[in-house]
């Protein structure tokens, strides 16, 4: 079990969570993987996490607060200003990608997730690279 990195994934689609669970917990064997099925009181829940997540994956279409709102709220917190926050979304039309970039997402992984290359992409994200894997 790897102690580093800690990952948070906020996603309402259970199948997407299951795929990510397979990738993060089994393939990468990470010890600290947290998943939220909704964004209710996410701020308090995120701040209560121990250890603090090193990378956050966000579904954009989450409720009640959208991925955009979560991103904006997290970026106001001192502890989350430098953490990579990556959109994990099936909304990858150009204008949506543009919007993601404009509001300050660190990157984007499109659904369907490219499971073969996920480990590589994940490492690149941890290294601080801006990854925009759109199809």
């Amino acid at each position: 079990m790897n102690e580093y990195p800690a990952v948070l994934y906020i996603e309402d689609d259970p199948l997407s969570r299951k795929i990510m669970e397979m990738l993060l917990c089994h393939d990468l064997d990470l010890a600290h993987v947290t998943m939220f099925a909704d964004s209710t009181e996410f701020s308090a829940r995120v701040q209560a996490l121990v250890p603090k997540p090193d990378v956050i994956f966000l579904d954009v279409h989450i409720r009640p607060h959208t991925g955009f709102e979560i991103l904006a709220a997290l970026r106001t917190l001192e502890a989350f200003q430098r953490v990579p926050i990556v959109a994990l979304t099936a909304s990858v039309m150009n204008e949506e990608i543009q919007q993601l970039q404009n509001v300050g997402f660190s990157g984007c992984l499109a659904k369907p997730i490219d499971v073969e290359n996920f480990a590589t992409l994940f490492q690149q994200i941890l290294n601080g690279e801006s990854i925009w894997r759109i199809n």
Binding site: L15, I19, M93, N94, I113, N135
Partner: protein
């Protein structure tokens, strides 16, 4: 013929004789005025000369001479001088009214005051009346000359106190004076009518003006309304566009989400993550994955085409897009697409290839489409990707040794929802790849075209501007 008709006839005749020609111009009228003034001056001269002659008559007493001089001055010289200046102003009607007053004074008042001026006054009155008539009617030059001749004849050629003069001048004065007054009255009536007519025309004109203003206001109102309508229509179109874009985005999201599960769980199962899988099961599962990927590609194509057709295609432009990684990436995919086919892939590329301003993802899409198209149709031989610079463009040419495309089919390659006969036989694909690619190339300010020899092969060319002016980087770093 009763009296009124006769009078009308006479007036008409007189009008015809004396009225200025309708085509008479202002210049003509000024010339008349000048001529008239000259004649008046001559008359004044003649009168003054004859009076001076009377002054030198030794038989008359000084007081008689002075009286005669005074009468001459007031009856002839002064009115003529007034006449002269009035003529100069060109106000003929005013001259006429003024002179009729003078005539009245000379013929009625003066003889009552000075009995010896009786005959002279008649002659003077005649002169003034004639003058007034012709002034009033703005008579033609010939009539003026006739008038002055008559004036001079009665004044100076006939003996001043003679019986003939008296007999001629009294009825003539009455007759001509009557004529002049009638004419003047008639003229004034005509003028009044004319003024009324003018007034009417003016009124109509004002009414027209008002109507025109109203029409203008209405027109303005209509323009405003039309503009408003257009604005509304445009807003509606924009709204419809937004709705369409939102629909497409939502479609993309809704279709990709289940595919995420289908593709990835199939892969997991095929790899034995959920327990052992037999070889034949794995094979089937891989086919499910391939079909799902194909379905994803089709969805992407249809959505792309919808975006292009609805005009909502937007590019994500970056300033320095390196072509090398895109080319390497697409070539490696191409190799996997060929499978066992005896086709050789080669790349000709200059070392100093510049980075370009483009949408990286879209360039990759176009190139992949060109290469996969070549793979699809080439059974043996070679696929060559040549990259070269041509003026300010980078050209990527994909040459294959496939069956080629007949001339009559070449245009259809770039038309949406059409596939060539060969394309249909080969199967697969939506036929949207090339139309989308061409649209994407054009959106970059570039071009996509082909040249082909049936039986030898086809070359697709993609030409892209290195730094297109029409493209603006989407994100300012």
């Amino acid at each position: 013929m009763n009296t009124t008709t006769q009078a009308r006839f006479a007036l008409r005749w007189w009008d015809r004789l004396t009225a200025p020609h309708p085509s008479i111009t202002d210049i003509e009228r000024r010339r008349q005025s000048r001529l008239l003034s000259t004649i008046e001056l001559i008359v004044i001269g003649v009168i003054v000369a004859s009076e001076l002659q009377q002054l030198t008559d030794p038989t008359a007493s000084i007081s008689d001479q002075l009286t005669g001089l005074a009468i001459s001055f007031f009856l002839y010289v002064l009115p003529f001088v007034v006449l002269y200046f009035l003529n100069r102003t060109g106000r003929y009607t005013l001259s006429a009214y003024g002179l009729i007053l003078v005539v009245f004074f000379a013929n009625v008042i003066a003889p009552l005051l000075i009995p010896s001026a009786w005959a002279d006054s008649l002659g003077g009155g005649l002169v003034l009346l004639l003058s007034s008539i012709f002034l009033t009617v703005q008579a033609t030059t010939v009539l003026l000359i006739v008038s002055v001749t008559i004036q001079l004849f009665f004044l100076h050629l006939l003996p001043p106190n003679g019986t003939i003069a008296t007999w001629f001048t009294i009825p003539l004065t009455v007759l001509i004076g009557g004529c002049a007054l009638t004419l003047l009255w008639h003229r004034t009536g005509l003028e009044r009518e004319r003024r009324a007519e003018l007034e009417r025309v003016n009124k109509n004109l004002r009414a027209s003006e008002v109507a025109l203003q109203e029409a203008n206001a209405t027109l303005e109102q209509r323009v405003i309304e039309r503009t408003f309508d257009l604005e509304a229509a445009r807003n509606q179109a924009e709204r419809a566009d937004k709705v369409k874009s939102a629909f497409l985005a939502s479609m993309s999201h809704e279709l990709r989400t289940p595919l995420n599960a289908i593709i990835n769980f199939t892969k997991f199962v095929a790899k034995g993550r959920y327990g052992p899988v037999s070889e034949s099961q794995a094979e089937i599962l891989n086919q499910v994955t391939d079909s799902s990927n194909h379905l994803l590609a089709l969805i992407n194509d249809v959505l792309d085409m919808s975006k292009i057709e609805s005009g909502s295609l937007t590019l994500f432009i970056e300033d320095n897009v390196a072509l090398h990684p895109i080319i390497e990436g697409t070539l490696s995919i191409t190799r996997s697409l060929l499978g066992e086919k005896p086709v050789e892939i080669s790349l000709e590329i200059p070392n100093d290839l510049p980075s370009i301003r483009a949408d990286k993802q879209r360039i990759r899409q176009i190139l992949l489409n060109m290469l996969s198209n070549a793979c699809k149709f080439t059974e043996k031989g070679a696929i060559t990707l040549k990259v070269y610079l041509e003026q300010n463009n980078v050209v990527l040419a994909v040459q294959d040794t496939g069956p080629g495309i007949a001339a009559q089919d070449q245009a259809a390659v770039f038309e949406a929802f059409k596939q060539t006969a060969t394309g249909l036989r080969q199967g697969g694909g939506t036929g949207l790849g090339m139309p989308i690619s061409r649209n994407l190339a054009q959106a970059h300010g570039g071009r996509l075209w082909l040249s082909s020899d049936v039986g030898k092969g086809t070359t697709f060319y993609l030409s892209l501007p290195i730094k297109s002016e029409v493209l603006v980087p989407t994100l300012v770093a």
